[in-house]
């Protein structure tokens, strides 16, 4: 079998990326309106997108597809205005996730959960401007949102809380992956689609 990515694989990749992204946005957009929920946004995203991702894995047999999906997701995220840090982080965590999955031959159940969780960490990229840029421009942040608001946001998101954000994404990804697997079994396996 040819191990290079072919047109067929790339079309599949596009297809699942768009499903993954649209689904994530369906969760993110209504929740994003309430800034207090920002820290758990990434976690909720990975919780729901486990479903298309697990289905995606049934089609992945070649190295690189998961990496590319992370990069593309980061890119799309950037184009919606969440900053472009998702692209480099997508490269890193996509690659790591891809490696983990590859060692399980894209089939091992345990590895697919961990692989998905690691892959999901590209989402951390969307938090980078909030954490690392906010310090720089804290004053201007206060100027634009009012001191009160800025203080509240800072209270919700102190520097150390990024650890919680990362942990949240990781844990929810594991749960989301399990939900995805369960649904896959419930519908797609029974239906003979995968």
């Amino acid at each position: 079998m040819n191990n290079k990515l072919q047109a067929k694989d790339l079309i599949n990749l596009g297809l699942f990326t768009v499903l993954y992204f649209v689904l994530g946005c369906c969760v993110a957009i209504p929740i994003g309106f309430v800034p207090i929920f920002l820290p758990i946004l990434g976690a909720l995203w990975t919780l729901i997108t486990g479903i298309p991702f697990m289905l995606f894995l049934t089609r992945v047999k070649k190295f690189g597809m998961v990496t590319l999906m992370a990069i593309l997701s980061g890119l799309l995220m950037g184009l919606t205005g969440m900053g472009y840090w998702g692209v480099p982080l997508g490269l890193i965590f996509g690659l790591l996730g891809d490696l983990i999955l590859k060692f399980g031959n894209y089939k091992s159940a345990k590895r697919s959960l961990i692989g998905y969780a690691v892959f999901s960490l590209w989402m951390v990229g969307t938090y980078i401007p909030m954490y690392f840029m906010v310090e720089d421009s804290r004053a201007s942040f206060a100027a634009s949102f009012g001191k009160e608001y800025a203080d509240k946001v800072m209270a919700v998101m102190p520097m150390w809380s990024i650890v919680l954000v990362i942990a949240g994404i990781f844990i929810c990804a594991i749960i989301g992956g399990m939900i995805g697997k369960a649904l896959l079994k419930k519908h797609f396996v029974k239906a003979g689609i995968v």
């Binding site: 990515l5 072919q6 047109a7 067929k8 790339l10 079309i11 599949n12 990749l13 596009g14 297809l15 990326t17 768009v18 499903l19 992204f21 649209v22 689904l23 994003g32 309106f33 309430v34 800034p35 729901i48 479903i51 298309p52 289905l55 690189g64 590319l68 990069i71 593309l72 799309l76 950037g78 184009l79 919606t80 205005g81 969440m82 900053g83 472009y84 401007p129 840029m133 906010v134 421009s137 201007s140 942040f141 100027a143 634009s144 949102f145 009012g146 009160e148 608001y149 509240k152 649904l183 519908h187 797609f188 239906a191 689609i193």
Partner: protein, 245 residues
């Protein structure tokens, strides 16, 4: 939103811009709008940037959409100012939360929608190739392009079906609601995707030759002016701390 996403080249009037210009404008808007700084000169730069999608949509003769967007942005902008400078307490906090999201995201989303609706897949591929982007990114991206409207179409059909079956079921269980919507959507999108792959492959997609691009893209006066505006905004952004007035 809806009208923009569904329209394409059908009613292609308005300014013709190179896809790369549109992309650059989108990047400028999404980057600068989301930056938290709101000092001095940025108070002028941001509203100017927010006018870009307005002008673009207007040039497409989509007056209704352009009007809705302009009113929405203006109301949010004014509310934001009022909440910052006049009001205080919980109300101002809530208003700020909602309006700041709108003023930050709306221009980017509108520009993104314009990019999708006014660019054909082949123009997009052509532009990406000229930027020497690898095929591994171009093909998935063009599929993504093609599938936004498909997902919308399929989702509407499923929503109709649920309406007709009088969705008592699942009404109490939010998880079932998601499941009932999601599973048929994924099944039909994947089916369409498989058939699409087959059709594209029988027409030579992925051939190891340099792809021809029939569509005409290239930079013209309007592109240069748009790029200059974007650059100016970036420069003002980097220098905004030093510009006092």
């Amino acid at each position: 939103m809806d009208e923009i996403l569904s329209a394409t080249v059908d009613s292609r009037n308005g300014i013709v811009l190179d896809p790369r210009t549109k992309l650059f404008m989108l990047i400028t808007i999404t980057t600068l709008m989301f930056s938290t700084s709101n000092d001095g000169i940025m108070n002028i730069v941001k509203p100017i940037l927010s006018l870009i999608p307005f002008a673009l949509i207007l040039s497409e003769h989509k007056f209704k959409t352009a009007g809705k967007y302009a009113v929405l942005y203006a109301v949010c902008f004014v509310l934001e100012r009022l909440a910052l400078n006049v009001w205080s307490g919980m109300i101002s906090f809530l208003i700020l939360a909602a309006t700041s999201i709108m003023t930050r995201f709306a221009p980017g989303i509108m520009t993104g929608a314009y990019l999708i609706s006014s660019t054909s897949v082949s123009e997009f591929i052509s532009a990406m190739e000229r930027m020497h982007v690898t095929e591994k990114i171009i093909i998935p991206l063009s599929v993504i392009f093609r599938f936004f409207p498909t997902i919308k179409e399929e989702y509407q059909a499923i929503r109709d079906a649920m309406k007709m079956r009088n969705i008592r079921f699942g009404g109490k269980n939010p998880f079932l609601m998601i499941e009932y919507r999601l599973i048929p959507l994924m099944v039909s999108v994947i089916k369409i995707g498989d058939e699409l792959s087959a059709a594209a492959l029988t027409r030579g997609l992925g051939a190891p030759v340099r792809r021809t691009n029939v569509c005409e893209i290239g930079f013209h006066v309007q592109d240069f002016s748009a790029i200059v505006v974007c650059f100016a905004c970036f420069i003002l952004f980097f220098l905004h701390q030093y510009i006092v007035f």
